[in-house]
């Protein structure tokens, strides 16, 4: 017991590692604030283009989305970080994470938003257009607000996954929460900093998980 406390909940080490781990937390938050809007933007573009009835537009989009749903984000990240330099393109870890997330989470957000847009009856667009709104206006003011509300649980759930995914940044030396904790761990030879990182992730994301669990139960119950 004593040994477990010493190696997982060591107070001295926790105090020493706290500033390092908190600096990582700050970077995780900043990284999330960058990649979530980026992914949403990519997803929105995909969803809007997917509304096209032209198969020349639709099929490549579907292939694009399926490609990134099948491709592990870590492989994408390593490809950008370790593969591209051979083509003479050297991007920093941070840029690689941003690009990989834009591509990967954009595909997921895109699928969600597409389902949202398709849940709005066509009659609404027709009604909006007949009142004199332009196509862009009816999308912006009529369809999108309702679409987003319909898929809000899914959007939130994907955002949770994106925030968790920022931990991949540690593989390409982006000093986010997990990376900092692992640095502290390798210096101290003690697992306490990693436990700290896990506790921080849990404390921050738990409320979101609780909320999601409620929303999901309600959604599924409503459809039975």
């Amino acid at each position: 017991m004593e040994e477990i406390v010493q190696s997982f909940f060591n107070r001295e080490i926790a105090e020493a590692a706290l500033p390092i781990v908190l600096a990582g937390l700050l970077n995780t938050i900043l990284l999330s604030l960058l990649v979530v809007p980026l992914g949403l933007l990519g997803g929105l573009l995909l969803a809007l283009f997917a509304q096209s009835r032209n198969p020349v537009v639709r099929w490549p989009l579907m292939a694009w989305v399926d490609f990134f749903r099948a491709f592990p984000p870590l492989v994408l990240l390593v490809l950008l970080f370790a593969g591209l330099p051979f083509a003479g393109v050297e991007l920093g870890g941070f840029t690689c994470v941003a690009i990989a997330f834009f591509l990967n989470t954009g595909a997921y957000y895109g699928e969600i938003l597409r389902a949202g847009i398709e849940s709005i009856p066509r009659g609404q667009v027709e009604a909006a257009r007949s009142t004199g709104l332009s196509g862009v206006q009816s999308m912006t003011y009529i369809v999108l607000p309702q679409a987003v509300r319909n898929v809000l649980p899914d959007l939130l759930s994907n955002t949770l996954e994106v925030v968790k995914l920022t931990s991949l940044g540690s593989v390409v030396a982006v000093p986010e929460l997990l990376y900092q904790a692992r640095q502290a761990q390798s210096v101290t030879y003690n697992a306490t900093p990693i436990v700290m990182a896990a506790v921080i992730y849990f404390l921050i994301l738990w409320p979101v998980v609780r909320l999601l669990s409620r929303l999901e139960n309600r959604a599924l119950a409503g459809r039975a």
Partner: protein, 226 residues
């Protein structure tokens, strides 16, 4: 050498590809083994937890909810690192394979429990009462009345989640597991050529693209009717 030749020589170098093909194939075998282990154990554990939860034993349910919430909020990579680098300090040193399998199975278990549970809860109470009043036992009601309906409802969300978590097998690289990405990365640094990485990327597509396309079909087939 033209620019294009230089490019293909770097990224699609036939000699390097031939040399490291067996490595990548071995990585694929390991990835498949890991993926199957994760999917089976994760889904079974999730279903088991959901069934236990339906018994309605309060303290037990709180524990289940806590465990599920825990593994839904922790990034899988954090769980892997914690198990692989942390547990040895507690006198238990799991291999890279066991660490990755255990972590991903726990994460899948958490998500699967939540989805199975939502499916069970969504079955109207009247069905329980009707089934019990015909003389079926609790277990019989669960197995023959509730689960068949609940499972159907859970197929679409479960498929998507399972794919997303199974792709996480690539995370094993971080703890030096020799799955596809691990093999490709070490082949790349040995040959100082990115061709193995391109092969690795192709290997992932070969494995997961059919699954994603199948999932799309499943999604429309079993989608929630609005």
């Amino acid at each position: 050498m033209s620019g294009w030749e230089r490019f293909t020589d770097a990224f699609f170098n036939a000699k390097v590809m031939e040399k490291y093909l067996p490595d990548i194939l071995a990585g694929m075998v390991l990835t498949i083994e890991l993926a199957i282990a994760v999917v089976i154990s994760g889904l079974l554990a999730g279903l088991l937890l959901a069934l236990v939860r339906s018994l309605g034993i309060r303290p037990l349910n709180w524990l289940i909810i806590f465990v599920v919430d825990l593994f839904r909020s922790l990034p899988p990579l954090v769980v892997i690192v914690l198990i692989y680098f942390g547990l040895p300090s507690a006198g238990f040193s799991p291999s890279a394979f066991v660490s990755t399998w255990l972590s991903l199975a726990l994460v899948l278990m958490a998500f699967a429990e939540e989805i199975f549970w939502a499916g069970i809860v969504s079955t109207p109470k009247g069905q329980w009462e009707a089934a019990r009043s015909t003389g079926l036992s609790f277990v019989q009601t669960l197995l023959h009345v509730i689960l068949p309906q609940a499972l159907r409802l859970t197929i679409a969300p479960l498929t998507n989640r399972t794919i997303a978590i199974t792709k996480g097998t690539a995370l094993g690289t971080v703890v030096a597991l020799h799955e596809i990405l691990g093999m490709a990365s070490s082949a790349m640094s040995n040959s100082y050529n990115p061709s193995p990485l391109m092969m690795g990327a192709a290997a992932y597509l070969v494995l997961f693209l059919p699954v994603v396309v199948a999932a799309r079909w499943v999604e429309t087939r079993f989608s929630w009717k609005r």
